[in-house]
């Protein structure tokens, strides 16, 4: 791997690592048995992607378990707590649409990440299908599910702007990616009888916050739990 690729592999690898962890928190708590299987499946795909990407940069475990919070380069979107099932689905919809478009472009190119993207894009197509179907069911299901799904979409909206900030070493057309994302997410929300959220797509931090190592408070607790055992036994292997 060329050194120039490290920031890209780290950013995309951290996205996958962190979202996989959040989805793993659902184990034993999902609303229906089929979703225990589906959410774990998505988490496993993402963990697989994370391991490949982080290994391009260095030792996967050192990177996952021994970095401090400020050294992680994932989007703030993926570190957001699961909330209810609707909020998890909103996060999946936003992220899988983004990841599908991103990997789609990378797979079509001839960069170093193309082979990895070509494999991942197939997995992500399933994640996106899962998120879209649940967005439709919840948005156009009962009054309660509609209200919850709308709230989930609204809550996470302010973390979506960061996705379209160019990542160093990721050679894609970011404007095209953003336009594709708006069109795709907008169409799903409309079919689901939901409203595309209004308001800013980023918080008071300059957009690009997570990519610069500026995270939200819940992320510190998340990695404290994730890293605790590994850090308690310095030098041990597992």
């Amino acid at each position: 791997m060329t050194a120039a690729l490290a920031p890209a592999a780290l950013a995309l690898g951290d996205d996958a690592l962190v979202l996989s962890h959040r989805l793993g928190e659902w184990a034993g708590h999902a609303p229906v048995l089929e979703e225990e299987v589906a959410l774990a499946n998505i988490a496993l795909d993402l963990l697989g992607q994370a391991r490949i990407l982080l290994s391009l940069v260095g030792d996967e475990d050192e990177l996952a378990y021994l970095r401090e919070e400020r050294a992680f380069r994932n989007l703030q979107l993926v570190e957001q707590p699961n909330g209810d099932f609707a909020q998890t689905i909103a996060r999946q919809l936003y992220f899988s649409t983004y990841q599908g478009l991103l990997y789609g472009q990378l797979a079509a190119g001839d960069g170093e990440l193309a082979p990895l993207a070509a494999k991942a894009v197939k997995e992500v197509a399933y994640h996106q299908d899962h998120a879209e179907h649940w967005t439709l069911r919840l948005g156009d299901g009962t009054a309660e599910s509609h209200e919850r799904m709308q709230r989930g979409c609204d809550t996470l909206w302010r973390f979506t702007g960061e996705m379209f900030q160019p990542v160093e070493g990721v050679d894609v057309d970011w404007q095209k990616l953003e336009a594709g994302w708006r069109e795709s997410v907008g169409a799903v929300l409309e079919r689901a009888t939901l409203t595309v959220p209004e308001g800013p797509q980023s918080g008071a931090w300059s957009a690009g916050a997570g990519r610069q190592g500026l995270h939200t408070e819940p992320f510190g607790r998340m990695i404290a739990e994730m890293q605790h055992l590994h850090r308690s036994h310095p030098g041990a292997t597992w």
Partner: protein, 329 residues
């Protein structure tokens, strides 16, 4: 008189019905005796049906409750490789739950009804899951001992007389065998690791050994359902036979792991060609079964909460399906 004729007809009909039932029963008995499979649409005695539903439900419940003690470590797994293995294992257990609820459904009892019985305490799950996973090594001990005991119990079920159950067990046993190997490998790595890791592995084995032996159920002379289940070829070996088989396999594995088993009476009996082992504390077994284990309350309450908090999701899926004419999720 018309009424007398009607009475006679009813009596004849009843006699005919009894004769037919006897014929069906003879056919059923012959099929079981010939080791043929009973399939969902075949005639079967009501008690056979009830016994199978009870056993498959308890098995399915054990799979989904059994996800909890291991899921307890997913977010703390100490390497990404171990995390991937553990997530896949917990996912497999959800999958096993799905097959087994589906197998029970072939006998006319739906998943909702069975879950309701689990949540209200009218049906049980394996008591082993009422013990806590206190350290990472417990993930290994569960794989090696608990899944190992489960396989010993379940391999003969692949030849169970009821077709759908037997077929579900073929796939489940393959996956369980992988689970057991990962547990063994995890413990081996800890046992050969740092002194702290070795101590962690030994502590976990010390805590899980006796509860694993209890997984085979009470001694044969105290087992409520055993005799009938064996006659029907739902069950092929007695609790005590299976327990002995498990001990004989586990002892040399413990030696290879470099770990000891917490039983001073454990020794090879040359005459029997089997290991002798100490007395099991059946008071503890019955006590945990009655609800007084360390985690009974916690396990069932997490299950109920997940189900209740998921109600709106399931309702939404049904409402959407009704609107759009598709099967619910």
């Amino acid at each position: 008189m018309a009424t007398a004729a009607a009475h006679r007809t009813t009596a004849e009909a009843q006699a005919g019905e009894a004769e037919r039932t006897a014929a069906y029963e003879a056919a059923f008995d012959a099929a079981v005796a010939a080791d043929e499979r009973i399939e969902p649409r075949d005639w079967m005695p009501d008690a056979y049906r009830a016994s199978l539903v009870r056993q498959m439900a308890q098995h399915a419940h054990s799979e989904i409750i059994g996800m909890q003690p291991e899921a307890n470590w997913i977010t703390r797994a100490p390497s990404l490789r171990r995390k991937a293995i553990l997530m896949a294992k917990v996912q497999d257990e959800a999958g096993h739950g799905l097959y087994l609820y589906s197998a029970a459904e072939t006998l006319g009892t739906g998943r909702e009804e069975l879950l309701d019985k689990l949540h209200s305490g009218r049906q049980k799950y394996s008591s082993i899951f009422n013990y806590p996973t206190l350290t990472w090594a417990d993930v290994g001990a569960i794989g090696w001992l608990v899944d190992g005991a489960a396989i010993t119990n379940q391999v003969p079920l692949c030849r169970c007389s009821y077709g759908p159950y037997a077929r579900a067990m073929v796939r489940i046993c393959k996956e369980e065998s992988f689970h057991q190997r990962q547990g063994y490998e995890l413990l081996l790595h800890l046992s050969k690791g740092t002194p702290e890791q070795h101590a962690m592995a030994q502590d976990a084995v010390d805590r899980w050994w006796w509860p694993s032996l209890m997984m085979f159920g009470p001694p044969d002379d105290e087992s409520a359902h055993s005799a009938q289940s064996m006659a029907w070829k739902i069950k092929r070996h007695s609790n005590d036979e299976l327990r002995q088989r498990f001990v004989d396999i586990a002892v040399p594995q413990a030696e290879a792991l470099g770990l000891t088993l917490p039983d001073p009476d454990l020794r090879w009996n040359e005459e029997r060609g089997q290991y002798d082992f100490g007395a099991i504390d059946w008071d503890e077994f019955w006590n945990v079964l009655k609800g007084n284990g360390p985690c009974n309350e916690q396990r069932i309450s997490q299950r109920r909460t997940a189900h209740e908090e998921g109600a709106w999701v399931r309702e939404a899926a049904s409402a959407y399906a009704a609107k759009h004419g598709k099967a619910a999720a």
